[in-house]
Structures are given as structure tokens and as C-alpha cells.
């Protein structure tokens, strides 16, 4: 069993879905209960990954490798490193919580709804653990389908527009990415004489810079749309806003991370020369910084609660991509931690909108106000999420943000100086949102009798809050699992980065090195 742990984690939700399809559709509660059981099981089976993970091991762990389509050189090849581990855990836990949060929010076509969510879980986990580019691509596309239906069937008033936009936009990106993948595939045949999609094999490619650049841009289109980076972000506010709450949570918390993960797993290691190409790096950093400031400013002026949160994602993901293209250990590690953080904070923020929406069926900020009087617990949870998102120290956001800023500062001080304005604006749009919805007097009589959080809603929020606090107060385990993969990544892109250090040890700079070794 244990050597198939990753497969078990991967297919548990799918198995849950298959059983779900056999259940009688008329018994709604049975379907709900089963879906929750399946999702909880999906999370529980992923827990052993944490305990078995060896943070000192180089490379990938818990590897499974079998032939799948031998004629094409396609393998069923799974494995994780620290980066995948964190994202997989994020997926399994948040997937469960998202399903739990849907209990009373969804009342139509329950069976299909939960089936889509479970299918999506498998797709997302697959993306994060595939070590074969073809397999990765399959999962990457699998994810699109359930999300398309989730938005299109259970979404808000403009659901069809949003669903189609989401589907076509991301599909267009992935087609270009496929071209990039095929380029590598054929290049590998030319250079090594056999066809393969294995990442470990493709790493041996040695391509001219010009070709790497082309492939980089092809990947870029695929990943940047997914992240989304400015200016490819406009599918996001529509999709997030129209999706049902749980859909928005999954979209923001996990689906977006597929893009950043793509950069980390494929663009950087497979295209190291293009990744440090000064021009490309400058463009990446500029787009990230624009996203940070632009996303925050646009957020500030939204009058739709959910759309505001959606735009804040653009800003936060800007930090993540900035960290990646700082191309140093702290930037990249900060980026991964911030990806987890964003999943937690923005996941919470969407759930919060969901709680309000379920009670009032409107997302307009002006419809609310003074909710703290009638929903004190809710307003507390919202404040918590807001502070976590705004990067208050001792909560999760700060650890990621500061580490990213340090990484960015090391590479280019101006980047950090621009990015740090996002910290100010982040506080501004969140506090203003909070004031307009929670504080003041209740001006709308419809808000006078709103019930506070119920037990199930607490059960959804508490894990988020606990996790946010854990990362904020004791982030050490996260840095530990990231140390090896991040060092490997930096080593791959900038082979001289740590070599400079070796030199420096022989002639230490006063003060600096002792501090470093302390």
C-alpha cells in the first residue's frame, strides 16, 4: 500500500465520485453526507504524506513510475517535493472544507455538483504530483471541465458568460503550453534519441537560448493566464464572482496556484537560460508589480463584495510571481508560502462573502453595513481573515510577504519599493470593505435579523484560522520542507548563486556571515 500512497491520495476523490454516482439522486442528505465523507477521506489519506515526507531528502519522494502509453513514451509518473507537498495538502484540506461549506448553499443537481467537486480534486492533486509532462497536461485539462460546469450550472446571474470565458481563456493558454511541451518532446528526441515526457529526462535538454525563449513564452501564456498575471486576469473577476462560494474558494485557493506551480516546476528548471534572461525577468517583475498595485487600486473601488476579493487575488498573486522571479531562495520560498497563505486568507474571504450571500442573496457592499451588531462572531472571523490577508504579523500573510520582499530587494531594490505599496493599499481596501459591511449602524432593515455563524460554518472557518495562526507564529516546518527544493531550483537557474557563498566563507565579510550561521 505505502508505495502507492500518492496514487491513493490522487484517486480517493475519484473513487468517492464513482460511488456517489451510484447513490439515489432523490436522497439529498445521503448525497451530501457521502460527498463530505469522500472529501474528508481525501484529506485523511493525504495526511500520511506529511509524516512520511523526509525534509532532508533531495529530489522527489514517494515516486511511482509506470508505463502508460509506451508508444509515445508517456509514463504514469508521480512524486512530490516540498513545494508539491504543501500544495497537495492545501488542495485536500481546502477541497474538503469547500465541500463542507456547500451543505446548505447548493440545492439543485446535488449529485452532479458534488461529483464535479470530487473530480476536480483528483485533477488538481494530479497537477501537483505529476512528473510526466503529458500526465500533467491531462490533469491540467481535466480540472477545466468540472470548474466550467460548477460556474455554468450553479453560478450567479452571469454564469454562462463567466463559465465560457473561463473555459475558453484558459484553454487557449493551455494549447500554447502544449506547443511548448511538444517542442521539448521533439527536442529531446533529437538530442537523446528517444521520446519522453518525463521531467527528469527533459531536464537533460540543452537548448539554445532563442529556442528556450520561445518555449518560455509558450509556457508563460499557459501559466500566466492561470495565475493570472496582468493583463491576462480579466477572466478571474467574472469567474470568481459568478461561481458558487465553494467554487470561488477552490478557484482562488488552488486553481490559481497551478499557474505559479507551473512556473516553479517547469519554466524555471526546464528553461533555466530563458528564466534568467534579463529581459524576461524584467518583464515578469514588471507585470507582477503592476498586478500588485493595479489589483489593489481596482479592488479599492469595487462595489461588489465578491469582485473586490477577486481583484485582491490579482494583487496577492503579484507578490507570488514577483517572488518567483526574484530567483533567489527567499523570493521563491516566500512565494510558495504566500501561495498557501493566499489559499487560506482568500479562501476565508470568499467563504465570508458566501455566508453573507446565503443570508441576503446579494453581493453589493451597499446592501450591508453594521453586521457586527447582529453577527458578532461573523464579524470576528471576518476581521481575522482581513488581518491575515493584510499581512499582519503573527498571522500567515506577513511571513510570506516579508520573505518575498526580502528576496525581491536582494535582486532589485526598486521592485521591493514598488511592491511594498501593495502592503499599504491592501490595508486600505480591506479595512474600507470591513467598515462598509460590518461597522456603523444597520441601515438596511433586512440585515436586522440575520443569524450569526452556525456550527457547521464555524467548523469550516476554524481550520482556516488555526492554519493561519500556525504559519504566522511557527512557520519553521514550512521553511524546512522548502529548503531542499528551493535550493535545487536556485542552483539550477543560477548555478553560481551558492558558489559565491562558498567563496565568501573563505573571506567572510565582517558581521554578515556570523549572523548568517547563527
Amino acid at each position: 500500500m505505502s508505495e502507492h500512497l500518492l496514487s491513493i491520495v490522487l484517486f480517493t476523490p475519484l473513487a468517492g465520485m464513482l460511488v456517489l454516482l451510484l447513490l439515489p439522486g432523490s436522497n439529498k442528505n445521503l448525497i451530501r453526507i457521502w460527498a463530505n465523507i469522500a472529501a474528508a477521506a481525501g484529506f485523511l489519506v493525504s495526511l500520511p504524506l506529511v509524516f512520511r515526507f523526509d525534509k532532508n531528502a533531495e529530489g522527489f519522494q514517494m515516486v511511482e513510475r509506470y508505463d502508460w502509453i509506451p508508444a509515445l513514451g508517456v509514463k504514469y509518473y508521480l512524486g512530490i517535493d516540498g513545494i508539491s507537498l504543501l500544495l497537495v495538502m492545501l488542495t485536500t484540506l481546502l477541497g474538503f472544507l469547500a465541500i463542507l461549506s456547500s451543505w446548505s448553499a447548493i440545492d439543485r443537481h446535488l449529485k452532479a455538483y458534488y461529483a464535479m467537486f470530487l473530480l476536480q480534486q483528483t485533477g488538481m492533486i494530479g497537477v501537483f504530483i505529476s512528473l510526466d509532462f503529458f500526465l500533467f497536461y491531462v490533469f491540467w485539462e481535466v480540472v477545466l471541465v468540472p470548474m466550467y460546469f460548477i460556474i455554468g450550472v450553479w453560478g450567479g446571474p452571469r454564469k454562462l458568460y463567466a463559465a465560457i470565458k473561463f473555459f475558453l481563456y484558459t484553454l487557449a493558454g493551455s494549447v500554447l503550453m502544449l506547443l511548448g511541451i511538444l517542442t521539448l518532446y521533439f527536442q529531446h528526441f533529437e538530442q537523446h534519441g528517444f521520446y519522453t515526457f518525463e521531467i527528469s529526462e527533459l531536464l537533460k535538454l540543452d537548448m539554445p537560448l532563442a529556442l528556450e525563449r520561445w518555449v518560455f513564452w509558450a509556457f508563460f501564456i499557459g501559466f500566466a493566464i492561470k495565475v493570472p498575471m496582468f493583463p491576462f486576469h480579466t477572466w478571474l473577476p467574472d469567474a470568481h464572482t459568478e461561481a458558487p462560494t465553494a467554487g470561488s474558494v477552490i478557484l482562488a485557493a488552488i486553481l490559481l496556484k497551478m499557474g505559479t506551480y507551473g512556473f516553479l516546476r517547469f519554466s524555471l528548471p526546464l528553461l533555466p537560460k530563458a528564466s534568467i534572461d534579463p529581459w524576461i525577468v524584467q518583464v515578469m517583475a514588471a507585470l507582477s508589480i503592476v498586478a500588485i498595485i493595479y489589483g489593489a487600486l481596482v479592488s479599492l473601488m469595487q462595489d461588489d463584495w465578491k469582485r473586490l476579493v477577486a481583484f485582491s487575488s490579482v494583487s496577492h498573486l503579484g507578490f507570488c510571481t514577483l517572488g518567483i522571479f526574484a530567483l533567489n531562495p527567499n523570493g521563491i520560498a516566500g512565494s510558495v508560502i504566500q501561495q498557501i497563505n493566499h489559499g487560506i486568507s482568500t479562501g476565508m474571504l470568499f467563504l465570508i462573502v458566501g455566508v453573507a450571500y446565503e443570508r441576503r442573496h446579494t453581493r453589493m457592499i451597499s446592501e450591508y453595513g453594521g453586521l457586527a451588531h447582529v453577527m458578532p462572531n461573523f464579524s470576528f472571523v471576518f476581521a481575522f481573515a482581513m488581518l491575515s490577508s493584510a499581512g499582519l504579523p503573527l498571522l500567515n500573510g506577513f511571513v510570506g510577504e516579508f520573505t518575498i520582499l526580502q528576496g525581491a530587494f536582494e535582486t532589485n531594490r526598486a521592485w521591493a519599493a514598488f511592491a511594498v505599496t501593495g502592503v499599504i493599499l491592501g490595508a486600505a481596501y480591506l479595512l474600507w470593505l470591513y467598515q462598509r459591511t460590518m461597522l456603523g449602524q444597520i441601515t438596511n432593515p433586512k440585515n436586522l435579523r440575520l443569524p450569526d455563524l452556525n456550527l457547521r460554518e464555524w467548523a469550516v472557518f476554524l481550520p482556516f484560522m488555526a492554519w493561519a495562526l500556525w504559519i504566522g507564529v511557527y512557520p519553521k516546518p514550512y521553511f524546512e520542507v522548502l529548503e531542499k527544493p528551493v535550493a535545487q531550483l536556485v542552483e539550477r537557474v543560477r548555478p553560481d548563486y551558492f558558489a559565491q557563498h562558498a567563496l565568501a566563507v573563505q573571506a567572510p565579510a565582517p558581521g554578515a556571515v556570523e549572523a548568517g550561521e547563527r
Partner: protein, 719 residues
């Protein structure tokens, strides 16, 4: 004997435990009346006003409330005891430093500092007790405890009692973390945390829009400073590879002061930007007066005695750095002096008792930065420490007045209260003398020392000193204007207020008396050197802090001693006392002797008055430029850009796709398929004649066959 030194990490944790208890269990201990819950428009007026409700008299002494009154101040008292124990033990240590590291909080990765080599981004949950943090924890816990006790009375009739003490305890936790941190990053934790508590407490009466606005403004303006602080830490990391105080100071040791504006000046400047936010200095001071929306004990603790002094503490903590950067230090002094006089000028004409005190706080903080800027770090801390007593007392006294009047805050509607609330009057009287700088009260010693240092330090100047003296005059004037208008003259109270007047209960007046004692005597451990008839024990404060600032003062001290001229110092001291007395006398003349004079002056000097009354229009300018201009204006512009251009591009692509596909459908229908159908049509046309043959009638076929056979037979037969 308990080793308190190794337990300093517990000092912040007691109030944290209190805060957590309060916020988790508070609603059970203190069930909220439904009036706080259901607030429809119009109904809300019930707890309107300043929120200091007039539900006076009935004290819901539920046992749960009693427990809250015990936990809230009790946890702070525990911190106070542990602090006192630790400080006493610290005094016994020869090196006067004790560091306790609990664990590595952020163990991030290797990076290259700017100078080459390698370092690791790391920050500990580590606590440092040295003479400087010792002063700070004592100030925070002593003043904090007194204000907590006072709050039992002041907040006794308020809804959200548990919430109040929860937030207050949370504040004390963060404040103690701030001053006990052993590195900048952990200091920043406290720094942001006190900002959060401040936000929560300013917005305590959250049903009021003005309270929500003020809280948000405080947080966002502070964040602007924090951005500077963050950049300062990043530059510090890039320069020294560490943010630990001890390591930074070690890296600085042996460096010479910068002659131009080098990297050290840049770090110091960025940190100072952070300080201008937290300590309400130009250009980021505008949030503090608005912060008076919070309950008065909050103003006393957070916005007068402790949190706002965090910037001064941070600069003093970085003294080794600032001492090497004459340019930034000059800027610190100049900003301090400018803030001092600007805020004092505004305080001259304000009518809200708390606003006067708020501007006074801004002004006094300016003094502290002036001292720090001229290299007199211990004096800055000395003034921080004396100010904590008399300003906390002034705010609590103001709170007692407001309490007595059932929520009235406008000093024009007060007057003649001195016999009605005698304890409040007498204690505030002491505090007002102290802040005006009348010997031998606490404020005199610290302020006089600041002025002297500004005059004599090689980093100071006569111009800065002059600004300080003018500010001292204004300070004496506005404080005594406030005193005379509030307590003397004929009563101008509203009917309702005058029925209501009563002295506060002992739970409030005892802290007032305790703080008054501090306002009198706190300065006696920092007497001027020229008062030679007092022994060195009366100069304990400077000696106590000397080890902390030794590195910083080493650069400038030699000069300072050379400048020391006893007769000038005496002359200046006498001058400053005369100035203060003159300020008081003028206030007395204008507001007691000739009460109609101020109105006449106001009308004659209307333009000046309006500028001061409207706070130099700084808020309006900021709103115009930054809030509405940059943020909201930029935001709406970009939103429209996003919808029209960026998303327009996407939708345009969609439209183009649909358009071309419509075109294709047309082409396909009429051209591609059209040609196919044309061929079919042609064939069909030509097939018509043939179709005539194919009728499907058997008889016709038989006839044709018959005819055919007949024709064929005929042909063969005829041949």
C-alpha cells in the same frame, strides 16, 4: 528566588492570556443587553453621543463582569510584578543585558548581502532586557495597570465591557512585545500589533461612522510609515545581514559617522519614516487627533503614554545607527521641532478637550524626537517617561470631566468645575503645571534638558532651540487655557450636564492621584547637572541608560562636554521657566481676567485663527491629493481601464471570433456549400427529362417493354 530574568518572555504573555480569555469567553461572562444588538437607524441614538452613555447609576454588577474587572487589570498587574522583579535583578547584573531566545520564528534562507558574502534571513522569538527596555516595560505596565483600573469605573456602564478589556490586554501584549523584542522583525510584530489594537479601540464605538473612519485612518496612515519601516529592515538586512539589535550594533561598532547621505543614513531615514507614522510626526500625524474617537482610557494609554512613543523608543533603540548619520539625525530633530510647534499652534484654538490634549501629545512627541535628533537619546526617553505620567493623567482627568458631565467634551460648555470635581481638578492642575515645565514637577526636568541639549549639542542648533522655547510658551498657554475654561470662571454647562455633575468613584480617582504623584516626582531622578547640591542619585536616569547609549554618545559626547557652560545653562533654564510662567499668565489674563478678549482677538485675527482652527488644512489637502486623488481616483480610473481596455480586449477577441465565425457560416452556407448545392441543382435540372421515364408504374414499363420488343422484332423482320 524566582529568576525573573529568564522569565521575561512571560511578561507579554499574561495580558495575551487575558485577551484570549476575554475575546473567547467574554460574551458569556458579560451578556450584552439587546440594546447593543439591535440598532436600527433612529433607534441607535440611544447609545449615541460620545458613546459614554447616560445609563449612569445602574451598575450591572454581574459576577461575570466582576471577573472581567479582575482579569483585565490583573494580568497587567502580573506583568508589572514580573517586570519589576526582572528589572531589579537586571540592576544586579554587571553587564546590564539579558537576552532570552525562545525559538527561531522566521528561519528563512540564505541570501547575499550587498557587501558580498552570505547571510541568512532569520528572526527569533527573542526577548532582550536592558536598561532601555526596562524603563519601557515599567512605564507600560505601571501606567497600563493604572489605566486598566480606571477603566473599571469609566467603562462600567458601557456595552462591550469584555471587548474593551480584551482589546486593552491585547494592546499591552503587543506593546510589551514591541519593547522587549531582541530584533527589529519581532519589534515590528509588536509595532503592527499595537496598531491593530489601536484600530480596534479607536473603533470601539463601531456604530459611529466617525469612529470607524478614525480607526481606518489610523491603520492606513500607520501602514504608510510601516512601508518605510519594512524597507528600512530590508536595507538593514542587505547591509548587515541581520536584524538582531546586538548584531547590528556590533556591525556598527567602529564605524565613523557618515559625512554625506550614505547607506546608514538611508536605513535610519526609512526607520524614521516608520516612526513618523506610529508617533504621529509630520507628515503622518493626522491620524492621532482623529483617534480621540476611542474611549478616553484608550487615548490615555495608547494615544498618549505608550503606543505613540514607540517611534521614539525605536529611534533610541537604534541610537548606534542614528548617531552615525548626522543628516538623518538632523532631519529627525527638524521634523520633531516642526511637529512640536505645528501641533502646539493647532492646540491653541481647539475646543474639544480631548483634541487639545491630542495635539499636545503630538507636540510633546515632537520634543522627544527633537531630543533624539540632537543625539540626546536618554533625554528623549526621559521625556517619554515623564510625559507618560502627566499626559496619561491629563487624559484620565479629561475622561473624569467628561464622565462627570455625561459626555460633554466641548470646553466652551464647561467652566467652574473646580469645586464640583475637586480630585479631578487638583490632579489635573498638577499635570498642567508639569507639562508647562514648572519646577520641580516632572515635565520641567525633561523639557528643560531637551532645550539645553538642543542648544548645546553639536547636532543641535540655536534655531531648533528657539522653536522649542516658543513651543514651550504655547504649551503653557494652551494647557492653562484648557484648565481655566474647564475648571474656572462661571459655569457654562448645559442644563442636563449641570444636573449630572459628580466626582468620579474612587476606582477612577485613585489612579489619578497615583499618576499625579508620578507627575510630581518622576523627574527627580533626572536633575540637571548644574544642580550640584543634589547628589548623583538624583541623576539616576542618565546613569541607568548610559550603557545602552554608550556607543551612540561616544561620537558626540566629547564635543558636548567641551561646550558645557554653566552660566548659559542657568540662564536658559531660568528663561524657560519664565516663558512657561508667562504662558500661564497670558492664559489667565485672557480666559479669567478678560473673558471677552479671546473673541475679540479671534475676530481680528480671523485668517490666522481659521488656519489654526482648521488644523492648517492638512487633512483636506491629504484627502484631496491622496485619498480621493491617488487612491480613489486612481482606483476608479483603473477600474474603468480594466473593464474597457483589458477586459475589452478579451471581449473584443470573443466578439471577433464570433464575427469571423458568422462570416464563416455565411461563406460556408453560400459559397462552399453553395457550390455543392449548385452542382446538385444542375444535376437535378438535367435529371428532369430522365425522371419522366422512371414512373414506377408496372403497366408503363410493360408497355415500354412491349413497344421495345415490337420495335426490335420489327427491325429484324424488316431487314
Amino acid at each position: 528566588m524566582v529568576n525573573f530574568l529568564d522569565l521575561i518572555w512571560l511578561i507579554p504573555l499574561f495580558p495575551l492570556a487575558g485577551a484570549v480569555t476575554m475575546l473567547l469567553a467574554g460574551r458569556r461572562l458579560d451578556p450584552q443587553p439587546p440594546s447593543e444588538v439591535a440598532l436600527a437607524p433612529g433607534v441607535a441614538a440611544a447609545s449615541g453621543g460620545n458613546g459614554h452613555g447616560d445609563a449612569h447609576g445602574h451598575h450591572p454588577a454581574a459576577p461575570g463582569r466582576f471577573l472581567i474587572s479582575l482579569i483585565g487589570p490583573g494580568t497587567v498587574l502580573l506583568s508589572l510584578l514580573f517586570s519589576a522583579g526582572a528589572v531589579i535583578q537586571l540592576a544586579g547584573l554587571p553587564e546590564k543585558v539579558h537576552e532570552v531566545v525562545k525559538y527561531t520564528w522566521i528561519p528563512a534562507f540564505f541570501f547575499h548581502p550587498a557587501g558580498g558574502g552570505g547571510a541568512r534571513l532569520a528572526a527569533d522569538f527573542g526577548f532582550l532586557l536592558d536598561p532601555l527596555s526596562a524603563v519601557m516595560i515599567l512605564v507600560v505596565t505601571v501606567v497600563g495597570f493604572l489605566i486598566h483600573v480606571y477603566s473599571i469605573g469609566y467603562m462600567g456602564h458601557e456595552g462591550g465591557y469584555y471587548r474593551f478589556f480584551g482589546y486593552m490586554n491585547l494592546f499591552v501584549f503587543f506593546m510589551l512585545t514591541l519593547v522587549l523584542a531582541n530584533n527589529y522583525l519581532l519589534l515590528f510584530v509588536g509595532w503592527e500589533g499595537v496598531g491593530l489594537s489601536s484600530y480596534l479601540l479607536i473603533g470601539f464605538y463601531f456604530h459611529k461612522k466617525s469612529a470607524g473612519d478614525a480607526g481606518k485612518k489610523a491603520f492606513v496612515v500607520n501602514r504608510i510609515g510601516d512601508a518605510g519601516f519594512i524597507m528600512g529592515m530590508l536595507l538593514m538586512l542587505a547591509t548587515f545581514g541581520t536584524v538582531r539589535f546586538v548584531d547590528v550594533n556590533a556591525a556598527l561598532a567602529g564605524r565613523e559617522p557618515e559625512t554625506g547621505f550614505g547607506v546608514l543614513s538611508a536605513i535610519a531615514l526609512l526607520l524614521f519614516i516608520g516612526a513618523t507614522g506610529k508617533s504621529a510626526q509630520i507628515p503622518l500625524f493626522t491620524w492621532l487627533p482623529d483617534a480621540m474617537e476611542g474611549p478616553t482610557p484608550v487615548s490615555a494609554l495608547i494615544h498618549a503614554a505608550t503606543m505613540v512613543t514607540a517611534g521614539v523608543y525605536m529611534v533610541a533603540r537604534s541610537s548606534a545607527l542614528f548617531a552615525l548619520t548626522p543628516q538623518t539625525s538632523f532631519l529627525v530633530a527638524a521634523v520633531g521641532a516642526a511637529t512640536a510647534i505645528l501641533a502646539a499652534s493647532i492646540a491653541l484654538v481647539q475646543n474639544d478637550i480631548k483634541r487639545v490634549l491630542a495635539y499636545s501629545t503630538v507636540s510633546q512627541l515632537g520634543y522627544m524626537f527633537l531630543a533624539a535628533g540632537v543625539g540626546a537619546y536618554w533625554v528623549a526617553i526621559f521625556h517619554l517617561y515623564t510625559h507618560a505620567f502627566f499626559k496619561a493623567l491629563l487624559f484620565l482627568g479629561a475622561g473624569s470631566v467628561i464622565h462627570a458631565l455625561g459626555g460633554e467634551q466641548d470646553i466652551r460648555r464647561m467652566g467652574g468645575l473646580k469645586d464640583k470635581i475637586p480630585v479631578t481638578y487638583r490632579t489635573m492642575w498638577i499635570a498642567s503645571l508639569a507639562i508647562a515645565g514648572i519646577p520641580p514637577l516632572a515635565g520641567f526636568f525633561s523639557k528643560d534638558e531637551i532645550l539645553w541639549q538642543t542648544w548645546s549639542s553639536p547636532l543641535g542648533s540655536k534655531a531648533l532651540w528657539a522653536v522649542g522655547v516658543v513651543t514651550a510658551f504655547m504649551t503653557a498657554f494652551y494647557m492653562w487655557r484648557l484648565m481655566f475654561l474647564t475648571f474656572h470662571g462661571r459655569p457654562r454647562l448645559s442644563e442636563e450636564a449641570s444636573r449630572h455633575v459628580h466626582e468620579s468613584p474612587p476606582v477612577m480617582t485613585v489612579p489619578l492621584v497615583a499618576l499625579a504623584a508620578g507627575s510630581v516626582a518622576a523627574g527627580w531622578i533626572g536633575m540637571p547637572k548644574i544642580w550640584t547640591w543634589f547628589g548623583e542619585g538624583f541623576r539616576l536616569f542618565e546613569h541607568w541608560l548610559a550603557p545602552v547609549f554608550a556607543a551612540a554618545t561616544a561620537h558626540w559626547h566629547a564635543h558636548a562636554e567641551a561646550h558645557h557652560d554653566v552660566s548659559i545653562e542657568w540662564a536658559l533654564m531660568i528663561l524657560s521657566v519664565v516663558i512657561a510662567a508667562a504662558g500661564i499668565a497670558l492664559a489667565r489674563h485672557l480666559y479669567l481676567v478678560r473673558p471677552d478678549a479671546p473673541e475679540a482677538i479671534r475676530q481680528r485675527a480671523a485668517p490666522v485663527y481659521n488656519v489654526l482652527y482648521n488644523k492648517w488644512y492638512v487633512d483636506e489637502i491629504y484627502d484631496f491629493l491622496f485619498v480621493n486623488g491617488l487612491a480613489k481616483g486612481g482606483g476608479s480610473l483603473l477600474s474603468r481601464f480594466d473593464a474597457a481596455v483589458v477586459d475589452g480586449g478579451v471581449n473584443g477577441t470573443g466578439w471577433l471570433t464570433r464575427f469571423t465565425s458568422t462570416l464563416s457560416v455565411w461563406w460556408d452556407t453560400w459559397v462552399v456549400d453553395g457550390s455543392v448545392r449548385l452542382i446538385a441543382f444542375t444535376v437535378k435540372m438535367f435529371s428532369y427529362p430522365a425522371r419522366l421515364l422512371q414512373t414506377g408504374y408496372l403497366q408503363s414499363y410493360a408497355l415500354v417493354i412491349l413497344v421495345g420488343v415490337a420495335v426490335a422484332l420489327g427491325y429484324y423482320l424488316m431487314r
